[in-house]
């Protein structure tokens, strides 16, 4: 599978993260989104007239919507990541996949405005972003009462991956994540999954690796 990718794009990261969690190798084709605006060149508009990234090509299949890419990855390599076990969870998964687009528009929009000076009404995008975060917080709180750590189920699904990147990067758009304890616990669970990878602004959990002993560096250096 070939991913047309931009390292700083939370949407592209969704696909890199999902593939890594599933152990699916991706062929990355880096696109000069900034400063080159390569995604708006005729070659790219022919691939995706919407002029957005990511784009995923798999054989004859060409996808430009991240929800579809997540479904495709999970269906082909990890059906456990689809909430197919009960109708409520399946519907909830769809709900969050759609909700993720609101996050892209609000939190993602604020981030583009604030970080790359894209034109836009930053204050209004931030307001919409906060509304979305509050909604996520209250639903995640309810999930905790049901002993479920993830959005649609007691295990992670593509819905979590669809929402995770833009939420964690909200501060890039000037939106604080400080007052959302359930969001904090949820993103901590995702960052603890085997196969988790980082993107700039989304750190690994350093506490999961051991505190090195002061002489460890010398030992490994000697081995080399």
């Amino acid at each position: 599978m070939k991913l047309y990718d931009y390292i700083l794009s939370p949407s592209c990261y969704k696909i890199r993260l999902m593939a890594s969690l599933l152990g699916v190798p991706l062929t990355l084709r880096p696109v000069d989104f900034h400063p080159g605006e390569e995604h708006l060149t005729p070659e790219f508009l022919a691939l995706n007239p919407a002029g957005t990234l990511p784009i995923l090509a798999d054989g004859g299949l060409l996808l430009t919507e991240t929800s579809a890419m997540l479904v495709h990855l999970a269906t082909s390599a990890g059906p456990d990541w689809l909430a197919r076990h009960d109708p409520q969870a399946a519907a909830s998964e769809q709900q969050w996949l759609s909700f993720a687009h609101r996050l892209t528009a609000s939190l993602g929009g604020a981030r583009l405005c604030d970080m790359f000076q894209r034109p836009g009404d930053l204050a209004s995008l931030q307001r919409q972003g906060i509304m979305a975060l509050r909604e996520l917080e209250v639903r995640l709180f309810e999930q905790r009462l049901r002993q479920q750590a993830f959005l649609a189920s007691d295990r992670p699904t593509i819905a979590d991956i669809a929402c995770f990147p833009h939420v964690v990067l909200a501060p890039d758009g000037g939106i604080s994540l400080d007052p959302y304890p359930s969001i904090r616990l949820w993103q901590r669970s995702i960052r603890g999954l085997p196969g988790f990878i980082e993107m700039p602004g989304i750190y690994r959990r350093h506490e999961l690796s051991e505190e090195p002993d002061p002489d460890a560096a010398n030992e490994t250096a000697e081995q080399v």
Binding site: V138, P179, P181, L185, A217
Partner: protein, 205 residues
């Protein structure tokens, strides 16, 4: 902060009226409340990580003990950090499912709200005064605000934030069933909407 929101080996920004502080729970469960500014280059310690019984700063990995002393400077792994390097540390205790911090010498134990357990904390973009004077709440002798949400008796603890907003803790009767908790949590969202809308209207006048 709610006890349930802070598992072992995590650090969070505790939103106090004086600003954010780094609140963390060690692997063995011990709580610490410290200044949210690393003495080295000012990084917020609440962005750090907790390994074992120490808090590490995310910037250069300086490690701090529960008493605030710097234990390790990774750039000089064999150096014993001077005694003078320490992060300001404050009193913190846990009672009734809530974590209480105190920036001065505590005058006594934190208050007790018998029969109630914390449900959620949330930030509200209006002042604590505005919440306390809302028609929907009654101020109790112990300072808590009593309110009825989704047919349940609830208590509010309202704490001012440096930006004039409020951090609101909602407590619910201990015996409340999960469905009742969900109903109260949703009613709480509506209560916040009403307050914030009223506030906007007042501003407009």
């Amino acid at each position: 902060m709610l006890s349930a929101d802070l598992p072992p080996m995590t650090v969070v920004p505790a939103l106090m009226p004086q600003g954010p502080f780094a609140l963390w729970r060690s692997e063995s469960g011990i709580l610490s409340l410290q200044a949210d500014r690393c003495p080295h280059r000012g990084m917020r310690l609440s962005h750090g990580f907790v390994r074992g019984e120490a808090l590490s700063c995310i910037y250069h990995g300086w490690r701090y003990a529960q008493n605030g002393r710097c234990l390790k400077i990774p750039a000089h792994p064999r150096l014993e950090p001077p005694e003078a390097i320490r992060v300001e540390t404050y009193a913190v205790t846990e009672s009734g499912g809530l974590i209480w911090g105190c920036l001065e010498t505590p005058a006594g134990a934190p208050p007790n709200f018998d029969g109630f357990a914390p449900l959620r904390m949330m930030s509200v973009k209006v002042s604590p005064q505005m919440i306390a004077t809302s028609d929907e709440v009654d101020r109790r002798a112990d300072g808590a605000l009593a309110i009825e949400l989704a047919g349940q008796h609830c208590l509010f603890l309202a704490r001012a934030q440096p930006d004039g907003s409020t951090l609101l803790f909602c407590l619910i009767e201990e015996a409340a069933a999960p469905e009742a908790r969900i109903a109260v949590s949703r009613a709480l969202e509506l209560f916040r909407c009403r307050l914030e809308a009223d506030d906007l209207q007042k501003e407009a006048l």
